[in-house]
Subunit: 140 residues, 2 copies
DNA sequence: CTATTTTTGCAACACTGTTGCAAATATTTT
DNA sequence: AAAATATTTGCAACAGTGTTGCAAAAATAG
């Protein structure tokens, strides 16, 4: 069980049911989840705008990390997952399987440091590899 | 002037006005352009669905390359630009300036080869770096 | 417990994605 | 070049996400 209360407290956000559920859902999931996948796992029928606003604020506060898969897909992960603390500390790639659509963080490899042109400043990165996962490959 | 006719011919797509304009617009642009930025540069008022379908089919045929910036932004480039032929051949990073929102292909650097877990197959990559460009940096 | 602050749900609108279908246009065949 | 065929376009329509304003509800501070 994760200390959701602590996470919210640290960034001075109220402890609401939806927020605690979102964090629990992501803590339990081994995959990055979309807004809709999170919505389907919520216990009650919350409003979609509220979910949108909560994912947004949790991302802005740095509690959640948003992966931009493509125009119609974006996924969220909880870097401080109970069983994975620390793995997310460095830049890493993400993998989206084009058959099953699952998204995984490839935290065991770290891309070399990005070198930008003179005068450019890096703030954040979004690295996604698209392909076929092992499970899907073994199915056909 | 680019051989738009050749490009379309090669993939057996009809030579329509919109398609030729799209290719000309991207050939002229030093930046990756969004659907809307392309729409604004079109000579006549084409239908947005048609533009969407053309960008889609041109991307599927491999003539255009689509960069997934984030959930509300995706950009298109013409890798075979008249003055840049070949630069796009290898995997490369893209840079989005969070102040001016411009997106550039960083074709002079190539990230090291991606290594995936055993059994995974890579099909495509999408690497985006967010930050501040030199121009914007010099403004403040 | 009360006052204050924050969050929620709802309505409303914007934009992109997506499909079906008939009309228009491009290509192929005679 | 005209007719036949294949492809593309524009329009209507709907879906999903993003986004804001605002009043009601819930959480937090005093
Ligand atoms: Mn990640
Ligand atoms: Mn590029
Ligand atoms: Zn898969
Ligand atoms: Zn800039």
């Amino acid at each position: 069980m994760m200390q959701t209360e602590k996470l919210l407290q640290n960034v001075r956000l109220s402890q609401t049911n939806m927020r605690k559920e979102i964090l629990d859902i992501l803590d339990d999931s081994s995959l990055a989840l979309s807004m809709n996948e999170i919505k389907l796992r919520l216990k009650s029928n919350y409003n979609r705008v509220t979910l949108y606003r909560n994912l947004k604020v949790l991302t802005e506060k740095g509690i959640l990390h948003q992966i931009h898969i493509d125009r119609q897909d974006s996924k969220y992960v909880l870097p401080l997952k109970t069983d994975k603390a620390g793995e997310h500390d460095q830049e890493h790639l993400h993998f989206k399987c084009l058959m099953c659509n699952e998204v995984k963080c490839l935290t065991d490899q770290h891309p070399e440091q990005v070198v930008l042109p003179e005068g450019y400043e890096k703030i954040e990165v979004n690295f996604v590899v698209y392909g076929i996962c092992r499970t899907c490959k073994n199915k056909n």
